[in-house]
């Protein structure tokens, strides 16, 4: 595996494609995170809120995206992680996680990060500043 410190501007981390989103994924995340907003787990509540069906917690997708960086833990850590929630993630959507190095500033690596659905539409978009030790 390439070291994160050896990346050049324009290089990307290995993409991760998640399994289709399942209800159990969201029930597990509700339990683990304490976010029991019912639009993420109960169809009728999602419909009452004007949605076609339950949607993933934005923080579930944001949590997933951070794992692009986990394997590099010996080199540094995520210092800044900012995300805009751009689109909803529905059941059975297939989300792909991406990161591209945009800028290097000594020991700070600045990445654009992105999660897209099966249609290539961004569902979240943001930045990670990875601090090397």
């Amino acid at each position: 595996m390439t070291k994160i410190a050896e990346l050049y501007v324009g290089d990307t981390l290995n993409e991760i494609q998640l399994d289709p989103v399942s209800r159990i994924d969201l029930i597990k995340y509700a339990g683990a995170s304490g976010d029991f907003n019912p639009i993420h787990t109960i169809d009728e509540e999602a419909k009452k809120a004007g949605l076609p069906g339950i949607i993933a917690h934005g923080m579930w997708t944001m949590g997933n995206l951070a794992k692009l960086f986990t394997t590099y833990y010996e080199e540094g850590f995520i210092q800044d992680y900012s995300i805009r929630f751009r689109g909803m993630v529905f059941l059975n959507d297939v989300v792909t996680l991406k990161a591209e190095l945009k800028e290097r500033d000594e020991n700070l690596l600045k990445f654009d990060v992105l999660a897209v659905n099966q249609e290539g539409k961004p569902v979240l978009k943001g930045n990670v500043v990875y601090r090397l030790f």
């Binding site: 683990a32 029991f36 923080m59 944001m62 010996e74 850590f77 800044d80 992680y81």
Partner: protein, 148 residues
């Protein structure tokens, strides 16, 4: 809502619990040994397991008095974390919440409100471990129902 700017909760002591970290790592499909395997934690530069960066959303940040913002109907627009170092499994973190800004803007959901809510964590000496900001959007419909 505007009068809430600057209001904060009292600090709440939280512990980064091993079981909670495991459950969280599983829920986001990030079951890396640095989070879960005690031996890998011991061998690491931290001497301990760490927690994923978004684990901070699990903590109890206390109650901001007078802030009436039920979860139902809220829209999470943006989330920003800043870490001085990773969270360590087993450590105590003193957490508090603060309303750092509020503004209104017309948009797709009527006359919308934007609440900037800080969720911060410190060590026992009061040193910042992380700060975070959530931008929460209140639709016109939500504002009417909640009268905010």
């Amino acid at each position: 809502m505007k009068e809430m700017i600057g209001k904060a909760s009292a600090k709440v002591r939280n512990t980064v619990e091993r079981g909670a970290v495991k459950k969280f790592a599983e829920a986001i499909g990030d079951v890396h040994p640095i989070y879960l395997d005690e031996e890998v934690g011991k061998q690491s530069r931290f001497g301990k397991n760490i927690a994923p960066p978004t684990f901070a959303r699990v903590f109890d940040y206390g109650v901001i008095e007078g802030l009436n913002m039920p979860n139902k109907g809220l829209i999470h627009g943006e989330q920003i974390y800043h870490y001085e170092r990773p969270l360590l499994v087993g450590e105590d973190v003193y957490c508090y919440a603060k309303v750092s800004d509020y503004y209104e803007k017309p948009g797709a959901l009527g006359n919308m409100g934007f609440v900037v809510l800080e969720n911060n964590g410190e060590d026992k000496d009061g040193k910042t471990i992380f700060t975070s900001k959530s931008i929460v959007i209140l639709s016109e419909a939500y504002r009417k129902v909640q009268q905010v």
